[in-house]
């Protein structure tokens, strides 16, 4: 066989068996059935997409909350031990110790529904029905003084509710440090005086007692 013919055969074979370079499908996986998608497609968006049919009142939510939520979140959603505080903190965001709750900080109510349904109660996730989730959400709204005690939340009125902090989020402006040309970065005699201004607060990092007020990541 001539050199150019065998080269052509090699090229043609490569084109047929090339992987990622070929546009389109690998024909892997199978189509998901509607029932499968419906069962896992549990997310809810701020514009209401994904909200299931259902309703729940503040009173109904109160009852469920005491049974399933208060042990960690407190009877009035005020928080217990180090578990998250869900109500209160209004006007505290500029203070030294901001209290970031549903009423004081969260931008969208849909987040409450989405999160409670997929992740709560802690240790028994995805156990609440749509009605129960609406009810708990209504109770939390009431605990944050955003609806009255007689309020009933449903998929019909959900998207009409706006949380107080919705407009206070901005997009990421980073990099946000003052511009500094690398070529001008000081290497010698950059400071006259250096003093230690702070020392490690927690020298024994894993103490036997459970108290440390200042540091938290949750």
């Amino acid at each position: 066989m001539s050199k150019s013919l065998s080269a052509a055969i090699i090229l043609a074979t490569c084109a047929l068996t090339a992987g990622p370079a070929l546009a389109g499908k690998f024909h892997l996986g199978r189509e998901a059935k509607p029932a499968e998608v419906a069962a896992w497609d549990i997310d809810v968006r701020p514009d209401g997409q994904g909200l299931p049919e259902g309703k729940g009142s503040v009173a109904q939510g109160d009852k469920i909350f005491q049974e399933q939520c208060a042990a960690c979140h407190g009877d009035f959603a005020e928080g217990r031990d180090r578990w998250p505080v869900l109500a209160g903190g209004k006007g505290s965001l500029k203070s030294d110790r901001p209290e970031k709750t549903i009423g004081s900080y969260w931008p969208y109510l849909s987040t409450v529904y989405d999160y409670i349904h997929r992740a709560m109660p802690y240790g028994n996730a995805q156990s609440l029905s749509a009605d129960e989730t609406y009810a708990i959400t209504a109770y939390l709204l009431h605990m944050n003084d955003l609806v009255d005690a007689k309020f009933e939340l449903s998929d019909k009125n959900f998207t009409g509710i706006h949380l107080p902090n919705e407009k206070n989020f901005v997009e990421d402006p980073r990099p946000d440090m003052p511009e500094k040309p690398v070529a001008k970065l000081c290497m010698k005699n950059c400071k006259t005086d250096v003093k230690i201004t702070k020392r490690a607060a927690v020298v024994n990092v894993t103490p036997t007692d459970d108290k440390n007020p200042s540091a938290s990541i949750d």
Partner: protein
């Protein structure tokens, strides 16, 4: 093959091993090297290990480090969180070298504990704005073309406890929510193209199969750029605590987005504003406004040795200083070191591979005269971004933003070699 040795010499080996362990009342240094072990093993004696047979090749089907390295572990700080299932532990970066984090030492951050998933039950669903919603088994995913990439993964809350001042005394705790491994996985774009993206697709929502149902919004162009659906770390299957059998990889961006135990990806036209990108992982500024979608991890570095958990244990003289640098925007161009709290800087040497969005290892050797030092490192990445001081960060962000603290770390080396976490003027 040699005969099995007589039982008496096996017993003798174990006796001597426990005698050596008994003499370990002396402090361990960072290599687990005690100041003096068993004098019987020192020259001019012939050490026990040079005489007797050790265990055979059947003894350790999955190897683990020497028992003398037992202090090289992840650690958690009990009082940081309400429970251990929604919590974090820390990579022992003060003990490691190179740029690869061993699989068993990669820090963990869970929101609902470690999901235990049988790979036979594993499914990945793709739905939403696609031509056809699809389901893949793990075997299906492994039939796509795959790639290998080394990337760091850093939690946005790394160093979060240090905003107000020097707090925890050890770089494992102050910068240890980070690891770097080689991922093997499928470029996400192949999987999305398999389902067929509709023309109005703009966002993805990956969702975890753990009990937190972790979900985030990922912009489509990032997904198509370099995101992977990964099933290997450093050559072997993902560890359960790192998302076995499948996790998402979002190079250079905050760790929370790298959804573990990935069960579903929904394609949409708007973000979902999930709990982990509203209530959490948003950065509260002094003026009461909050930044959201703060995805990229800024350029950062830290000296890992010397550090509070890795004091200098030798007398003055030739001293090796080492640390790590990384950037979510590219590679690290340069790392500078100061021994005097920022009066004078010298450039460290970066050793080993320099890969985008991966850890870089630097060294600086110097002749220590035994006097107190104020050590700092500052990194410069390939975009020209210079790692800021904590004061520079605080003047822009205040002290309540929790996330994205990439400030310069200062260690105070005292006479005698002890090291303390400090801040300086």
């Amino acid at each position: 093959m040699a005969q099995h040795p007589p039982k008496s010499s096996l017993t003798r080996r174990r006796f001597l091993a426990s005698a050596a362990a008994g003499s370990s009342a002396l402090a361990a240094t960072s290599l687990g090297v005690r100041a003096a072990g068993n004098p019987e093993n020192l020259p001019p004696n012939v050490a026990e290990a040079s005489k007797i047979l050790g265990e055979g090749v059947d003894a350790r089907p999955y190897g683990t480090p020497s028992e003398f390295e037992k202090d090289v572990v992840r650690r958690h700080v009990r009082w940081l969180t309400a429970s251990t299932e929604s919590s974090v532990n820390f990579t022992p970066i003060h003990e490691l070298d190179g740029i690869i984090t061993p699989n068993g030492l990669c820090f963990e951050r869970h929101h609902g504990g470690i999901a235990e998933i049988d790979p036979a039950d594993y499914r990945l669903m793709i739905n939403g704005l696609v031509d056809k919603p699809l389901i893949f088994t793990l075997e299906d995913l492994m039939r796509f073309p795959r790639e290998n990439r080394i990337y760091f993964l850093e939690c946005a809350a790394n160093s979060g406890m240090e905003w107000r001042g020097a707090q925890l005394n050890g770089c494992q705790f102050t910068q240890g929510m980070i690891h770097c491994v080689q991922y093997t996985g499928v470029p996400l774009k192949y999987i999305l193209e398999e389902a067929g993206l509709k023309t109005n697709a703009k966002w993805l929502m990956p969702e975890g199969g753990d009990s937190s149902g972790m979900n985030r919004s990922v912009p489509l162009d990032k997904a198509l750029d370099d995101c992977l659906v990964a099933f290997r770390m450093n050559g072997e299957a993902l560890r359960p605590e790192q998302g076995y059998p499948v996790r998402l990889v979002v190079p250079g961006w905050e760790g929370n987005m790298w959804v573990k135990w990935l069960r579903r990806i929904e394609v949409g036209d708007k973000p979902w504003h999930t709990r982990e990108e509203t209530s959490k992982y948003t950065d509260l500024m002094e003026n009461g406004k909050s930044r959201r979608f703060t995805w990229v991890m800024d350029c950062k570095s830290v000296i890992t040795n010397p550090s509070p958990q890795a004091p200098i244990t030798h007398d003055k003289g030739f001293t090796v200083l080492t640390g790590l640098a990384w950037s979510g925007r590219g590679t690290i161009d340069r790392v500078d070191i100061t021994l005097d709290g920022g009066k004078n800087w010298r450039t460290a040497r970066i050793d080993g591979p320099s890969l985008p969005m991966a850890l870089h290892r630097f060294y600086y050797e110097f002749d220590w005269d035994g006097s107190p030092l104020l050590l700092q490192s500052r990194a410069i990445d390939s975009t020209g971004y210079i790692q800021p001081t904590k004061d520079e960060l605080r003047s822009v962000r205040g002290t309540n933003s929790i996330y994205h603290n990439n400030g310069i770390q200062t260690w105070h080396v005292k006479k005698g070699g002890e090291v303390e976490n400090v801040e300086v003027s």
